[in-house]
């Protein structure tokens, strides 16, 4: 089960909208880091994902392990938050 979920997004990213919509539909709370508003955190998004892409969803589990899902991938998201 997810203890904390953080999503890195940008203003114009439609896939980011979908991740937020999916998490909302499944009843998960999340924190959003908008990289257009906080460009200083781009490096953090890159370091955590290894990719220059959004959305990046970081799921922290009960045991404090982290799982990172890049993009809008329903199968990976479902598995990561379960």
């Amino acid at each position: 089960m997810a203890k904390d979920i953080t999503i890195f997004t940008t203003n114009t990213c439609a896939y980011c909208v979908m991740v937020k919509k999916w998490l909302g539909a499944k009843g998960h709370n999340y924190q959003e880091v908008n990289l257009d508003q906080h460009p200083e955190r781009q490096k953090e998004a890159f370091e955590v994902s290894g990719q220059l892409a959004v959305p990046v969803t970081v799921i922290t589990k009960e045991d404090d392990s982290k799982e990172v899902v890049v993009g809008y991938n329903l199968a990976k998201l479902a598995s990561a938050v379960s």
């Binding site: 114009t12 439609a14 896939y15 979908m18 990289l35 220059l52 892409a53 959004v54």
Partner: protein
Amino acid sequence: MADNKEVLDATAHEVWDVVMVGAGPAALSAAVYTTREDITTLLFEKGVIGGLAAITDWVDNYPGFPKGIAGLDLAENLRLQAERFGAVIELGEVLSIADKGDHKELDTTSGLIKARTVLIATGSDYKKIGVPGEEEYYARGVHYCATCDGAFYRDKRLVVVGGGNSAVQEAIFLTRFASHIDLLVRGDSFRASDVLVKELDKHKDKISVHMQHTTDEIVGKDNLVTHVVSTNKAIGEKVEFKTDGVFIFVGLSPNTAFLKDGKVELDEIGLVKTNHELETTIKGIYAAGDVRSGATMQIASATGEGATAALKIREYIDDQNMGA
């Protein structure tokens, strides 16, 4: 009128009147029409609601918006309009469709779904060019969505590949981030509309256009892209373009892999064949929008085809109800 209906999900009906595969402009428009006729309507979307329109920076050629509209906003408006009348959108994937005569069975990530009719409106995705480095540097310098990933290239150099509307429009969008863009066009002229090409000309301080340049290889170091190897076809010489990232817009590839059993006939490039009523080779299964063979790949055309398909679906259901 069927306004303010309760929120339903894919299990709301044992047999849906219509299941739409995809939730882009074609399906969402069709859903506005079907739901207003109280035709129970379920849409499956495995990607972005609004399809490619949603990831397009700005739409200037969709009627009714004299100043244009952001693709994401247009997609959201289409969704709200469809849901207003009772369309149900399931975030999941249709894996296959089986024709059972009076109904169809869809194997989906949400389980087996039954429908009297099906509308295939899965659209297309951007094609890959298939050159060395493209897969290797995917999302680490190679991208197909400027509105998603452009923000990572503030004050960086970019290469944009393509000469059609998407390439030109997204290159212009990327000027808000990049310090310089090399636009590589394989042909000797743009396929993009004249309006966009004129708009491009206003950005010549940031965008250098290279006609008759192929994209041969994307090269990198330490997991990041460093340059693109190209051939100037006019003189037959290799050229290198230093860059931090590559955005590729070289045409569309139809989303029809789930039809691989071959029962719904496809054309030679994988688009769904239909008759003039937008019915496929299987009765009760229709197609509309960019996935349809003969489609003009425009948002306005897709919404029009969606409306037409919806009216044909209504006729089919009416005939079925009357035992025709």
